[in-house]
């Protein structure tokens, strides 16, 4: 016979029962932890900055002073607004195109085979390579910048959406078909809702790429924008301005992501 000994392992604590006492502390905990994370980061930054030249890594206080300076003359605010507009336009367009593209590619073999070589080729080519072409075709205005951000967004949303389509529970496809749904109705009433979590993840990741690309895009003829600010400051070796730009990008990204998450949680709750 087999020798199975029953060991009375202490039960794993899955969702620990909150004691009535600790409940208030617990509510404040996420906030506290975030504060610790941020303060820890700042301290680390200050320490590291003391080991190297301010030309490469300005100290916290230098950067703060530069930020005040840039806020004082309105540069930072204008830059944030200009870049935000471009990001939102390009990212929004990318998501709007990427989702249906991903759904069609995920669902229809022929569409996938036709477009796959393009997607799988172009998504490896950095937008910086297309800056000149974008300027030539779309001019030095907003359009070329938005197009570059669109370019960087659309692949990611598409790819994630395709993954989502392929993860749809086949039972639900069958159910829909035998309730009378045609191909297009299956797309809109089963595949689209099932794919929402993947699309949201794709959109969130693509938002990151939009931020990376806005900096490349704003190298050309942007008067305002965080990318333009960073490039100019880089040319001047005003590293503390570069850092103000970087931090503004980071915070703006954090904010956008937070808004996106809250909005999807509110609006798309039933699909998540």
């Amino acid at each position: 016979m087999t020798q199975l000994t029953q060991t009375a392992t202490p039960a794993a604590q899955e969702p620990a029962k909150p004691s009535h006492l600790g409940r208030r502390l617990k509510a404040a905990r996420p906030f506290l932890i975030s504060v610790i994370a941020i303060v820890g980061g700042l301290v680390l930054w200050q320490l590291v900055s003391m080991t190297t030249s301010p030309l490469f890594l300005p100290s916290v206080s230098m950067t703060w002073a530069a930020a005040l300076e840039l806020i004082g003359d309105g540069t930072l605010q204008q830059s944030v607004i200009a870049s935000s507009g471009r990001i939102l336009a390009g990212w929004g367009a990318g998501a709007l195109v990427g989702v249906p593209l991903g759904i069609f590619m995920g669902r229809f073999e022929t569409v996938r085979q036709l477009l796959d070589p393009y997607i799988e080729f172009f998504r490896f080519i950095p937008p910086i390579a297309f800056v000149t072409l974008a300027v030539i075709w779309l001019g030095p205005g907003e359009l070329s910048k938005i197009a570059l951000i669109f370019y960087t967004t659309v692949f990611i949303v598409t790819l994630n959406t395709i993954a989502g389509v392929q993860a749809v529970n086949p039972l639900r496809l069958r159910a829909a078909a035998s309730l009378g749904a045609g191909q297009l109705q299956i797309l809109s009433t089963v595949i689209l809702p099932s794919t929402v979590p993947f699309m949201v993840t794709g959109a969130r990741i693509a938002m990151g790429n939009s931020f990376l690309t806005v900096v490349s895009a704003e190298i050309v003829s942007a008067r305002e924008g965080l990318g333009a600010l960073i490039w100019t400051a880089r040319n001047f070796s005003r590293t503390e301005w570069v850092f103000v730009g970087i931090i503004a990008l980071g915070l703006l990204g954090y904010l956008f992501d937070r808004v996106l998450r809250v909005a999807t949680k509110k609006l798309l709750a039933r699909y998540l």
Partner: protein, 285 residues
């Protein structure tokens, strides 16, 4: 031979002397144990110098000046100069520089500086012209599309602008600017290595001599080290004077003028005392 010395330079024909000296082992000939490390541009090379990753680095004046207020750098000599390396290119329809209404500039660079000099020289009202910022590769495209009327920038972009149907109106010499590159060391390193630095300059002077006399031979060296094709280098060499020389009064004046320009752009916070920093008399020729 002494401890190895690393020199940081950009990957560009303007640094030809360094590539020739390295490829033809002229440093060794003058008793210096030198490795040439190439970076994308002079700026990155100078950053490496500030970070003490290299012992010497070569870069242009504005690149130096924005760093001088924060790092103890000691420019030793001029290792290149040109009155024609930057050119003002304009669309065919623009007959003279004062007709330009839209300037393409690379913000924060000498391009912006010489554009300023041009406007001052021609008495153009800054309020009446528009400055369009761009990266250098996009300038010819903007010109071809008609988004800008002209731009004042370094090679090879003027040549490309001409290929796009533009024409050259001026060179930087015309507006009183001689483009130079400086070879610098950190103050600390220099204090104990004056002799090595002198030997290196001698080797570079010999390389400059070769470059001046036999451009194709120099271009071969450039290709050997950086892969820049020979014709490309030859084309660039047309615009430059390979020299190694001490700083002149004119250099000091230009440096101060650029310092003021950078100050006005808030790129630096306080004027730099160029007279104290430039190591005049270090290179004895």
């Amino acid at each position: 031979q002494g401890a190895p010395v690393t020199i940081g330079v950009g990957a560009d024909p303007v640094f030809t002397a360094f590539f020739v000296a390295a490829n033809e082992k002229l440093f060794a000939k003058h008793g210096a144990n030198v490795a040439v490390q190439s970076y994308t541009d002079g700026g990155e090379a100078l950053n490496a110098l500030v970070a003490n990753q290299v012992n010497l680095a070569c870069a242009g004046e504005p690149t130096h000046i924005v760093r001088l207020s924060r790092a103890e750098l000691r420019p030793l000599a001029v290792t290149y100069q040109s009155k024609t390396y930057l050119k003002l290119v304009a669309r065919k329809e623009i007959a003279s520089a004062d007709k330009i209404k839209k300037f393409g500039i690379v913000a924060g660079s000498v391009s912006e500086y010489v554009t300023g000099l041009t406007m001052k020289k021609l008495g153009i009202d800054a309020a009446k012209v528009e400055m369009v910022r761009s990266g250098p590769p996009e300038l010819p495209a903007l010109l071809a599309r008609g988004d800008i009327d002209g731009y004042f920038v370094w090679e090879p972009w003027p040549t490309l602008g001409v290929q796009q149907g533009g024409h050259v109106l001026m060179t930087c010499g015309d507006v009183g600017y001689t483009s130079t590159l400086w070879l610098s060391a950190t103050a600390g390193w220099l204090a104990t290595n004056k002799e090595v630095a002198g030997n290196i300059l001698k080797a570079l002077a010999e390389a400059a001599e070769i470059t001046r006399k036999d451009p194709p031979r120099a271009a071969q060296s450039v290709q050997a080290v950086t892969r820049i094709p020979v014709p490309q280098t030859l084309n660039s060499l047309k615009d430059m004077e390979p020299v190694v020389r001490d700083f002149s009064d004119a250099d000091l004046k230009t440096a101060n003028a650029i310092g003021e320009f950078l100050l006005s752009k808030q790129a630096i916070k306080a004027p730099v005392d160029m007279g104290k920093i430039l190591q005049r008399g270090f290179y004895k020729g």
